[in-house]
Amino acid sequence: MVGLVTEQFAGFARELLAQRNAGSLPLAVVQHPVGGIRREEAAARITDDVIVAVVAALQNAPAEPRS
């Protein structure tokens, strides 16, 4: 499992996961915001490095992509 969070909420997500004893869950951090942008713009953010980082996280090799 990997969490997906925007950069504005990355610190919050880490704090929340730590509080809930899930601090080891890898996070993929993407550009803020996601809400209120056009579908094409959202799709354009799914760059190769994001996919690589998500796959790495799913394979227990934590990485912190930024798109």
């Binding site: 909420f9 610190g11 919050f12 704090e15 929340l16 509080q19 809930r20 809400g35």
Partner: protein
Amino acid sequence: MSPRLAPPPADQLELEIDGDEHDAAERFHAWGFTDGLPIVIPTRERVDRMAAGAKHYPLESLGNLAPRDGAATIQKIAINALMAGCLPEHMPVLEAAISAITEPDFNLIAMQTTTHPCALLAIVQGPVALELEMNFGHGCMGPGNRANSSIGRALRLILQNIGGAIAGFTDKATQGGPAKAGFCFAENEEQSPWPPLRTTLGLGLEDSCVTVAAAEGPHNINDHGSSDGESILNTIAQTMATVGSNNLYVGGDHFVVFGPEHAQAVAKSGFSREQVQRYLFEHARVSVDRVSPQKLAELSSWGGYADQLEAWGGRIPLARGAELLRVLVAGGAGKHSCWIPTFAVGYSQTRRIESEKQICLL
């Protein structure tokens, strides 16, 4: 944002107070244990006295509060109640409210961490409201009454200090709202033309209870002109039918709080509570042509009702059932009512307020 020190380890939390409590109070502010206002310093003797007002035993926990999953023991509740200015006789209300928010359908973790400005609303009902001299009349949702204010504030401190919802850190409300400081009032049963709210929630007239909800502050509804029920209800429905509320997205349950004069005029026109709910359910709707296409796409996907728009005739209801519009009376004289929108990603919960000491569950 002001800097916030990390709280000390639990074994260092016991302070020596030498007469002047000023330094202790400043320490509580620095640790982030306050809401920014002065507190009553929770000395051991004071906390014991507060806990003695509870209907459960000091080390009993009423559940874990998200997101930190802190155990809501009576002792911890008493500490926060004391800090907020409560009296020992307020403890049973807090016990019932805290027990209620641990219900999964309340969705506490979402309420505590959302960007939405929802506060913890507590509506106290039944004989206990009179015993505690709570305000259910003029200005009941505002300041000025010891029980209303201190119970509401205590709930906020409990959410923060036991639940771990820290404004700006784990409580990510974009703007927040003044109701977050405390939002507690009592139902005006004396002037309600309809049976008390609790009788619609499975409780009896003799019961006392508290209904809790993740709610916004009240939105005023002014109608000094209408004298018949349908005209007043139309004003209320059209006020509720706004595009930006969470209730339009996901429904949930929310509250229409009639001022006594509006309520009596509506009842005089022959409307029962159920008929009021049905009227508002049918008329408090938002036409899709008032919503931008992009927002409509988001609304219908988040709320899961894309395939229902046609059945609704292109008019989106603010609840998924008439019974989810909670109708009650509060306030004093004047031609005002209010709508209390909610977070909607969860449902209000109601708990009986115990009058007898409970069997220890430890």
